[in-house]
């Protein structure tokens, strides 16, 4: 495991549950992140980003107003003051397939299931530092490439050939 010094990294945490904010704050402090800020929902995140240039966001999903998935979608769409490609780690107690797929389709970089540990948080930081995913821009998506790794496929790679991505909705509809 690489030993990174995170002391120059700026992190914004969006979490509505005060004890979890304390826990995440302690984790970041222990990871030597010198500059981190806390907000309680998606709207506060957007307001805060007017003045705070975060290098990375840790966002809960279940928040109001504006949950983590919607916040991610807005950031990727350029509807917030944040850079569109700012890394986003979703930290959620909800781990249903629907939520994870929804978060991925909204454009999160990493997903972290609660309960968390310091090591788990650091691992997600490392993934973003060491294995950054390219971003994909389509008509209806802007975000990290949803294919984690290039898949080995023995036949013709039609995606590479034609570069025609399908949204999950289109795929489901057989389009």
């Amino acid at each position: 495991m690489a030993d990174y010094d995170l002391s120059n990294v700026k992190v914004l945490v969006a979490e509505d549950y005060a004890p979890m904010r304390k826990l995440l704050g302690q984790v970041l402090y222990e990871l030597n992140v010198a500059d981190f800020q806390m907000v309680a929902n998606g709207q506060e995140t957007i307001d805060f980003l007017q003045e705070y240039e975060a290098d990375l966001l840790l966002v809960d999903n279940l928040m109001s107003p504006i949950d983590g998935t919607e916040l991610t979608r807005m950031i990727r769409a350029g509807k917030t003051p944040a850079e569109r490609h700012v890394p986003i780690i979703m930290v959620s107690g909800e781990t249903s397939k629907e939520l994870i797929v929804g978060a991925r389709d909204a454009g999160v970089n990493e997903f972290l299931a609660k309960p968390i540990s310091t090591q788990m948080v650091y691992q997600r930081f490392m993934n973003i530092i060491e294995n950054p995913r390219a971003f994909v821009q389509t008509d209806d998506f802007y975000g990290p490439d949803r294919r984690r790794r290039p898949m080995r496929y023995p036949g013709l790679d039609r995606r590479r050939e034609a570069y025609t991505y399908q949204t999950p909705q289109q795929a489901k509809a057989g389009g």
């Binding site: 990174y4 549950y17 304390k22 222990e30 971003f135």
Partner: protein, 165 residues
Amino acid sequence: MAKPQIINPPNKLKSKVSMGGPGAVDPARLARAEAVIEKMTESYLDWVETDLAKLEGELAALSPGAPDTQERIDVIYRAAHDIKGQGGSFGYHLMTEIGALMCRYIENMDGAMTQEDVDLMQLCYKSMRAVITGRLSGDGGEAGRMVLDGLGKVAEKVKATGHGD
């Protein structure tokens, strides 16, 4: 549909970190960090009391057919969700397990809430209370197994809906 574009944004995070040095996250720092988090367990026991009190109050006020049922269920769900989310971080894995079960149960409730629903949610609450009162951290040993066994009916109903994962 336009062709997708592949964009490689600058890795700003990487540009702001360095390797090694006294401030780096090495195995020793990670171990210290985990130890500090473990010491927060006393705080956790205070925090979870607040959630349990909220659950207790809302469950006591739940009444099938009452107009405020959905609002109360929402508060109960949030409390169970929060309990699920933090228990394991402090070694209380049973709280995470029971919180998850309670969330699944509520998610799968369809139609009007019945007295059985209230009773089974109460059972989840009482099981959580038993875990905290008995300080059943980790898997809770024999007592932990008994607590989980007591939730068999909740688990069966969740499983029967086909959304037990």
